[in-house]
Amino acid sequence: MTELMIGAVAYDPKVVPIWEGIREYFRGAPVEMDFVLFSNYEAQVSALLAGRIDVAWNTNLAYVRTHHATGGACRVLAMRDTDVGFRTLLVGRVGELARAEDLRGKTLALGSADSAQAAIMPVHYLHVEGLLPGEDIELLRFDADVGKHGDTGTSERDALAAVLDGRADAAAVGAASWDILVRGGEVPPSTLAPLWTSPAYAHCNLTAMPTLDQETSEGWVTHLRAMDWADPAHRRILELEGLREWIEPQLDGYRDLFDAVEEQGLAARW
């Protein structure tokens, strides 16, 4: 029997039922799986590079780091449908700022420094739009849960709270995070509104080392992608993990993050 060891970061208690559910789903499949949880993405990437796990459920930043470390040889096996077309919003107080340009001379709250959606990508895209964060815009950083690459959402909540209480004029948050807060009733009516949307970029993926046997990984991915939203047992897991279907890798979406990592000198700290 072949079995893959998958790594995931325990950013929330729900990570346990998610991966136990997926492992259960794989029971009896041609390629089965087990999983190991890490407390941060740096440890997970190290484990992948050292061959202690076969596949890592990586954030975009953890993928870029793996890509750097393997000279681009690592392989991406699959993504969630929701990992494509990820975007960052700038959220301000209702009726104040109308566009990103209005942030000039104002304060922007950012989430964790290692969160692509709440720090790295907004800084990059604002730069592209001609606004130099730190120079044209004052930055107020909330570095909560560093090591979890923004997964906990804590730093985005902190950034929004800063806008609500006037410490900042806008906050950078993932569009999906904003939607979760809106649908969860956490945004008080008529207080905050998004004013800018970033270009699309990609979020998480399942990353493997180039040494992983092709046939094994294909067998595993085929079964993974057969998870079906219409099946209540699968839906429970898909819902918790925030997707409706697993899709083929679409790597174009990581290009901007590679640029951002380069431009912000992040790789030097790895």
Binding site: T82, G85, R87, L89, V94, A98, A175, A176, W178, D179, I180, V182, R183, G185, V187, P188, P189, S190, L192, A193, P194, L195, W196, T197, S198, P199, W229, A230, P232, A233, R235, R236, E239, R244
Partner: protein, 431 residues
């Protein structure tokens, strides 16, 4: 981000299935609920057109559509540039998945005299399943349950194992016949009676109360085992539980009211009642408790009412008997329904009586102190002139109980010989 262009990028002939004007509302201001409602009114694959004058909509609507399993297919200006039109295609992978549609537009018939429980069999709500699905959980019969809901551990999921033809009207009668043991009884007019009579009354009240605990606990034990789609049965049994609670209250208060107090409870009575509580099959438990036990109680309570030394005791016995008659009616109706679909089931009911009797093998006669209290009550005291009449009255009571038991059993289709056997084996404790 979906960019607004001048004029909508779709043909004017391309009519959406639904429209909503959100004006300046943001999603968090309530618009998301309106969108949910409007999308639920169209079919998956159809288009809802949202008009919005909220500048944030272009930023927050795409993620909302993705997050709710719908698709933002296009957007465009209304032509004047003040409003944006969004076209949302309802997805077929919604967060909540239902295999069915709820009813709509079915109105209950004639409601001039109220809305009886016999009249609520309307549409899906009226479909009493032969085999109930445990994964409909606590949903009321007729509701549409999301697929994938967890199964509940009900043991009574077969209609024939719990149903009774007239259960809905028995429930309505029960609801209309509730009384208050604190205030409906003329406690202030309880007269003093002789010591011997008061002692007999207190002993009988103690015995009645302990039996009523069994009559409360047994249906209460089965309620969580019965599938809620046998709603009328669950509701009726709930009234039975409340009835028995009231009887326990009234009998206990009567024992305490006259200065006597609660008296003895025997091991035999406890063993007999425990053997009821140990029943694990609803039909058998109902047969033992309601057809045989509460059936005997009707005669027991008639006796107490007739020979009560005071009007308070008589009133309590009469009120309790009226309630008990409903429980017996349900028990008989259920046994009839249970046997109708398979006459061989009569044997399982007979065996439940035989098993219970063997459990109580050392109890060939009733408790002597209950017999004594009944004789004293029937005689109006212990005077030598009347005791003989008391003894005769109690013998008559036993004969009446036996005769009526036979009548109920024969009514259910038991042959004379089996009915005779069942009645003879029934516990001497009455219940």
């Amino acid at each position: 981000m979906v960019t607004a262009s001048a004029g909508p990028p779709w043909s004017e002939d391309d009519e959406p299935a639904g429209r909503y004007d959100g004006d300046t509302l943001g999603l968090a201001d309530g618009l998301m609920f309106a969108l949910d409602v409007c999308l639920s009114e169209i079919e998956p694959g159809q288009i809802l057109e949202l008009t919005s004058a909220n500048p944030a909509m272009v930023h927050e609507l795409p993620a909302w559509c993705g997050g709710t399993g719908n698709e933002l297919v296009a957007s465009g200006s209304d032509g004047e540039g003040r409003r944006t039109l969004f076209r949302i295609r309802r997805g077929n992978r919604a967060a909540l998945m239902f295999a069915d549609q709820p009813d709509w537009g079915l109105v209950a018939p004639d409601r001039h005299d109220g809305f009886g429980t016999t009249e609520w069999l309307i549409g899906r709500a009226g479909e009493i399943p032969a085999h109930a699905d445990p994964s409909t959980g606590f949903s009321p019969r007729g509701a549409v349950v999301e697929t994938g809901a967890p199964p509940f551990p009900y043991t009574e999921t077969e209609r024939d194992h719990v149903w009774a033809q007239s259960v809905a009207s028995l429930y309505d009668q029960a609801v209309g016949s509730q009384w208050n043991a604190s205030t409906d009884i003329a406690w202030d007019s309880l007269p003093a009676v002789s010591v011997h009579l008061e002692r007999a009354v207190c002993q009988i009240m103690t015995h009645l109360a302990e039996n009523e605990y069994a009559a409360l606990y047994v249906p209460a034990k089965f309620i969580p085992r019965i599938h809620p789609h046998f709603t009328e049965v669950v509701l009726f049994l709930s009234t039975q539980v409340v009835d028995e609670a009231r009887h326990i209250e009234a009998f206990t208060k009567r024992a305490l009211a006259g200065g006597g107090g609660l008296r003895y409870s025997t091991a035999l009575t406890q063993a007999s009642l425990q053997s009821l509580l140990q029943q694990e099959d609803f039909s058998q438990a109902s047969f033992l408790l309601s057809v045989l036990g509460e059936g005997a109680f009707l005669d027991y309570l008639s006796f107490v009412e007739r020979y009560a030394p005071d009007p308070v005791t008589a009133d309590i016995a009469r009120r309790a008997r009226v309630d008990e008659a409903r429980h017996v009616a349900f028990g008989v109706e259920h046994a009839r329904h249970f046997l109708a679909s398979d006459p061989d089931r009569a044997e399982t009911l007979r065996q439940s009586v035989v098993r219970r009797a063997s459990f109580l093998a050392d109890a060939s006669a009733g408790s002597p102190h209950i017999e004594e209290a009944l004789v004293v009550l029937g005689a109006g005291g212990i005077g030598p002139g009347s005791l003989g009449e008391g003894v005769r009255a109690v013998r008559d009571l036993h004969r009446t109980m036996h005769r009526r038991r036979l009548g109920r059993l024969e009514q259910l289709g038991f042959g004379a010989e089996v009915a005779e056997e069942i009645s003879a084996l029934h516990t001497p404790n009455f219940m």
